[in-house]
């Protein structure tokens, strides 16, 4: 610690940022602990809500004093970080800076941090149990209600077999079209999304940032949500499903492809550059041959995922077998549901085997 006195302005600044980070983490953790504590107190106090029944989990979550907990959490975090020599390092301080030398050999029961961690973890599980309304008793005693579904699944009805098979064909083609059209777009986008190819100029770095940000956003939105967007765009049906899976596949494949490009051997690129070749030629000869086999493997994997996704994209109206599955679930036609579920399971299982075999061959 002796060198700190001679620190320049930038080091002082960095120390302030580190302390701020540690305090912010602590504030968040302490606030969460306080809120979970309040939730447990309310839940176990047996207080009744406006309907005369015990508070439900949502009602309790609605009752909590978030602002007060935040203020208290920030205050306690500040105190802990100011008095860290007396109270021991706080969790945030340990995460940002590390465990201080003099606390390394202490038992957890001898530090405030240790007790904090234990209580925090226990509160998390208790609160989680209450919030998600886990109920083992119901799970173990009310099986009979589900029995007729299981009976239906065990006795698939032939009534939807024909329609199911037809829509199964649609499902597989839906996945195929989405994957196939995603390949060229992802292939082109993968190059500007690879860090090692975009260091050269400001334009390239800009393209990298734009492409990466856009793809991360697109990938973060689930295909089912994309399906809803495209259904209002092009109407209910398999086309909306293709578009939804396509958009998501482009983003996912771009990420996988570009990561593969980032891991290539740069030697051949140097060699092709040295011949006086242009940038496109360097990519074609120095990069593409190295990435084609992993690209194929990723693409087949993606097709596999798309087949699974296409079976449920119909739930929201995106075409495929899910489209006739949803109403039968709602009507309780369990025999017909059983038939469709078996068809889906067989398809996914078969695709799984085929794609595994193909990828085994390529890599």
């Amino acid at each position: 610690m002796s060198g700190l006195n001679t620190s320049s302005e930038s080091i002082t600044w960095r120390k302030a940022v580190i302390r701020l980070q540690a305090t912010a983490i602590d504030a968040a953790l302490v606030t969460m602990l306080l809120l979970m504590g309040e939730l447990l107190v309310v839940a176990f106090s047996g207080r009744r809500g406006p309907t005369g029944l015990l508070f439900s989990a949502e009602q309790i979550l609605d009752l909590l004093h978030y602002a007060w907990a935040s203020v208290a959490g920030i205050s306690l975090a500040l105190i802990w970080n100011l008095l860290y020599r007396r109270l021991g390092a706080s969790p945030g301080r340990v995460l940002v800076i590390g465990v201080p030398e003099w606390e390394r050999n202490l038992e957890w029961t001898h530090t405030l941090r240790g007790w904090f961690a234990v209580i925090f973890i226990e509160f998390t599980f208790f609160a989680g149990w209450l919030i998600t309304e886990l109920d083992l008793l119901t799970l173990l005693t009310k099986f009979t209600k589900a029995a007729d579904i299981v009976r239906g699944l065990m006795h698939p009805s032939g009534a939807v077999l024909h329609e199911g098979l037809v829509l199964l064909v649609q499902t597989i083609f839906l996945a195929f079209m989405a994957t196939a059209f995603a390949i060229p777009v992802a292939f082109v986008l993968a190059f500007p999304s690879a860090r090692n190819l975009t260091r050269g100029s400001a334009v390239a770095r800009f393209a990298y940032t734009v492409s990466r940000t856009l793809m991360n956003f697109v990938r973060a939105v689930e295909p089912l949500v994309w399906a809803l967007i495209f259904i209002s765009w092009v109407g209910i049906g398999p086309f909306a499903g293709v578009l939804a899976l396509w958009v998501h596949s482009v983003a996912a494949l771009t990420k996988l492809y570009s990561e593969q490009i980032e891991s290539i051997d740069t030697g051949p690129m140097d060699a092709i550059t040295a011949t006086g070749a242009s940038t496109l030629q360097v990519l074609r000869y120095g990069v593409v041959p190295q990435v084609i086999p992993p690209f194929l493997s990723f693409t087949i994997y993606r097709w596999d995922i798309n087949v699974r996704m296409s079976t449920i994209i119909g739930f929201v109206g995106g075409g495929g077998i899910g489209y006739i599955l949803k109403p039968r679930v709602d009507l309780g036609e369990w025999g017909e549901v059983g038939t469709l579920v078996l068809l889906i399971a067989a398809t996914v299982w078969l695709m799984d085997i085929i794609s595994a075999k193909i990828r085994e061959r390529i890599v």
Binding site: G267, D270, A271, T275, G276, S278, L280, Q281, Y285, P289
Partner: protein, 246 residues
């Protein structure tokens, strides 16, 4: 030449190469040999200083002008740097990319005369029958000869060879060096070749320079550089233990 991160790889190197020379650059690893060669064809951009190639200042060029000048310099690498998954013939043909039209080259379609030329280059390094093999199916010595054929395909005036035999079995070194020597003797190409083996320098080079810690420390006829000079220049690095007492 300073790399990002502050590694000073070359400093104050002033060097002139005559047309038709076989210049060897001697030095231990990390002495700046690769950086010097890569500054010549601008695979790395020098942070300071200038280089003239055939009367043109390459350090001032960019874009198409830079590529046109690069066509006249072929490079041979220590790690061969062939495109491993492509055929030997395509690897040789890639030496012609600088003068091939863009669109056909992107679908790997080369004119007939270039294909014949590539076959002739392969014949010349004794691999005429291996054109259809995948590059990574060949042994190290054969791969480096393919790289020599690729350099030949480029029809350059200057060959830059960066430790061309350092990753080869000692018994195979001469098989590659002889081909580079032939380009120098028979075609009159200028060769700048980095080496760390004094025997190879004596055997092939007409002139040599020695680098240490990025600086030029010796320059002269290859024959004048004997083992005593080698020890004078590199001895203290090779035997640091003898110095620690002082």
């Amino acid at each position: 030449m300073v790399y990002p991160g502050g590694v000073r790889a070359l400093e104050g190197v002033n060097l002139e190469v005559q047309e038709g020379e076989f210049l060897a650059i001697l030095g231990l690893s990390g002495s700046g040999k690769s950086t010097l060669l890569r500054c010549i064809n601008r695979l790395v951009d020098p942070t300071e200083g200038k280089a003239w190639i055939f009367g043109t200042e390459i350090t001032a060029l960019s874009g198409g002008d830079l590529r046109r000048l690069r066509r006249q310099m072929a490079m041979i690498f220590q790690q061969f740097n062939l495109v491993r998954r492509q055929s030997v013939l395509t690897n040789v043909l890639s030496g012609a990319l600088g003068r091939t039209r863009l669109l056909p080259s992107l679908v790997v379609s080369f004119p007939q005369d270039e294909r014949e030329r590539a076959q002739a280059s392969l014949d010349r390094v004794g691999l005429g029958d291996r054109g259809g093999s995948r590059a990574d199916a060949l042994s190290g010595g054969q791969q480096q000869r393919v790289a020599v054929a690729r350099a030949l395909m480029q029809a350059p005036r200057l060959i830059l060879a960066d430790e061309p035999v350092a990753s080869l079995d000692p018994a195979l070194r001469h098989s590659v060096m002889r081909h580079i020597e032939a380009l120098n003797r028979e075609e009159g190409l200028t060769v700048i070749c980095s080496l760390h083996d004094i025997d190879l320098v004596e055997r092939y080079a007409t002139r040599m320079v020695a680098l240490r810690d990025g600086r030029l420390v010796w320059e002269g006829r290859a024959g004048d550089f004997d083992r005593d000079t080698f020890r004078e220049i590199y001895g203290e690095d090779a035997e640091p233990a003898s110095n620690t007492g002082f």
